[in-house]
Amino acid sequence: TSFAKKFQTPQPRASINGGGGNSQGDSYLVPGATVATILMLGVLHARRLYDDKMTEEKREKGIELEFQPDVKATFLRLLPLRSMSRCWGYLTNMEIPVWLRPHIYKAWARAFHSNLEEAALPLDEYASLRDFFIRTLKEGSRPIDAGPQCLVSPVDGTVLRFGELKGAGAMIEQVKGFSYSVFSLLGASPFLPTSADGDVQEEHSESITTTEKSNKSWWRVSLASPKVWDPTSSRPKRGLFYCVVYLKPGDYHRIHSPADWNILLRRHFSGRLYPLNERATRTIRNLYIENERVILEGLWQEGFMALAAIGATNIGSIELFIEPELHTNRPRKKFLHSEPPEERVYGCEGVGRMLKKGDELGAFNMG
């Protein structure tokens, strides 16, 4: 409005000596811009709430949203999301005055539905938003299911997908109409079962390397190994399963071990940092295999287990308590996004990092 008024009724510039002719117009400029910005943010927020509501309604009706690439997703490719993420991390790591801390954290909790009563420390003891974000919880806030035949959730979040992976080219559905390969997600793994029928229990107990296995064709194995009674054959077969859990900004962001687990290696893919919200999963191809991620692989009582912690724009770095020296979301040395993953084997001769069910193993950090 201020701009419009200014252009419609041009007035002589106020001189140093004389003026004051346009001072009233200028005084409208800042409030006008502020009001326009607030209105714009309000409209965007309302639109987002409306979209979320519509999505929720569709989900309740059982209508599954399909993959649908759009212009915004293409535009995201052009943005320096990693730099923006690090900038966000820098800002959120700044120390907040003690008197202001409870107000900011309460506002955050209101906006993202966090439960502040679970926080282990009083709010004014979190020096920065980043510290608050990866806060620990009060003792007993997350009881661990102690059942011996149960796998527990490693994080707080929303279950997006789960199921069994079948066939040699096992695919995980990102959203209806688009899937990605588990091998692309985890990388070339010596432990990942490759058998199509899921009967891969020998992977656990025998030390046959992938190379050796690939050299033996199925008929050679069949002829060389006559059918004899084998005590291990009375054990149930094993299938390969997956579960995808999404963490909203207000969720507790520490990662725990889903079972008693021996982690044998860690793989770090330095990729992009797209957002991972519901809209992004519907519009960005290969979201999970393009984003920066840390893969932990190892063995548990039932065989193979891998956990992929995938970063996003606002929560870009992944911290491992079992390997504090690992730093993710660093400035890139190369422009290309297809760098090979950096891998570290924990220990040697199969001795890795032993974790008990429920042990903390890492956290997602801001920026």
Partner: protein, 45 residues
């Protein structure tokens, strides 16, 4: 942020169809879950 868990778990020895799996997820799509709550269970036969 997102976590993808990939793991082996027991399935029935005789049949491999959905109904005879021994490992079963005890969550549904869209469920809220917290650390330590069961994702799935299995029963040894």
């Amino acid at each position: 942020s997102t976590v993808v868990l990939v793991f082996q778990a027991p399935i029935s020895k005789l049949h491999e169809d959905e109904s005879s799996q021994e490992f079963r997820f005890c969550v549904r799509r869209g469920d809220r879950i917290r650390v330590g709550e069961a994702l799935g269970r299995w029963h040894s036969s």
